[in-house]
Symmetry: C2
Subunit: 200 residues, 2 copies
């Protein structure tokens, strides 16, 4: 399975590297970081990741991972990125997003008539990008057919383990979580942050 | 506070980016990724981070973060890296490591006569790198004077929040954890993985 991860200026570090820590321990998976151009891309926290592929390389990914971060505020108006997401999503087996990454999926039309969730503190802004989406306010993550969307930042790590569980089995997901000494929040309906931020 | 993060081939992704997600939300902190040379450095999971500084730049960091990963197995024999750690640690205010990063601290002499912990599955190998260290088998992380060492991978994120709590207050640490919708394991003595891996 070839996983394509969208990078952009001001992406949120853990949105990308929490899921990739877990996915990277699946033997069948190869990961590519993709951006508008090859080279270092600065996160919202400062440190750079290195994009090894660019959007128009023609590579079709089996699984998409769209992270969030402050950079999504500009990117929802970037037609080149939205077109890439729409085209990739059309043929990808699985589509995933973390945090405000779901704003990009929504704006690309990928979440039309689907159930989805997002970061709690940015919920109203993200909703405004997807008027035809059934937004779920209380959920650690939401799966609708082949689309997984998670709540804020670290919820993406829990969603990635659920994704692994769905495809390679719960035993594999727990093995990887234990390897990383990670306390997996494995129940998607447990979400105390919805209440904390006034959404439930 | 200037945080210097050591990167090397086959570093573990979450060892670096879990702590940096949290530290990056502290207003006073700037982060530099440091390696033997400037440029992309491949993680154990494949994706590259971009080192913006090299070991011999002369920069003294206030806080060191030494991650783990399979790359530490070679790096414990790399005198240039060990010298850099020894020199930095001598003047740094705080020294931190995640997972098998403590093997590098131990081999550099930084953990002599100190209490420390590390990854549960690599415990015996790491112990062999630090015969003068008081290794603690059951701990999510250990603080001894200005040195913080954590257990495997995701324990580093919990340690980073404890570090923030010690310096900027628990309120700040909880605010950042909540922002990331992260369920902070805030009790360093709670460590079910020690038992799972036969160490307690």
């Amino acid at each position: 399975m070839k996983v394509g991860v969208l990078l952009f200026d001001q992406f949120e570090l853990l949105d990308v590297f929490g899921p990739l820590e877990m996915l990277g321990h699946v033997e069948d998976i190869s990961i590519e970081l993709v951006a508008q151009s090859i080279g270092p891309i600065a996160s919202a926290q400062g440190p750079c990741a290195y994009a090894q592929a660019q959007l128009d390389s023609g590579t079709q990914y089996d699984t998409l991972l769209i992270p969030g971060g402050m950079g999504t505020r500009q990117l929802v108006d970037d037609q080149r990125t939205l077109n890439w997401i729409t085209q990739q999503a059309d043929k990808a087996r699985y589509i995933t997003s973390v945090c405000t990454g779901s704003a990009l999926l929504a704006k690309s039309g990928v979440l039309d008539n689907k159930r989805a969730t997002t970061n709690k503190m940015a919920f109203h802004w993200v909703m405004s990008q997807g008027p035809n989406t059934h937004w779920v306010t209380k959920a650690r993550w939401v799966k609708d057919s082949n689309v997984y969307t998670s709540s804020g930042v670290s919820a993406g790590t829990d969603m990635a383990l659920a994704f692994i569980s769905d495809i390679w089995g719960e035993h594999k997901a727990r093995e990887i979580a234990d390897l990383a000494e990670y306390e997996w929040n494995s129940d998607a309906t447990q979400d105390r942050f919805a209440q904390k931020y006034g959404l439930a």
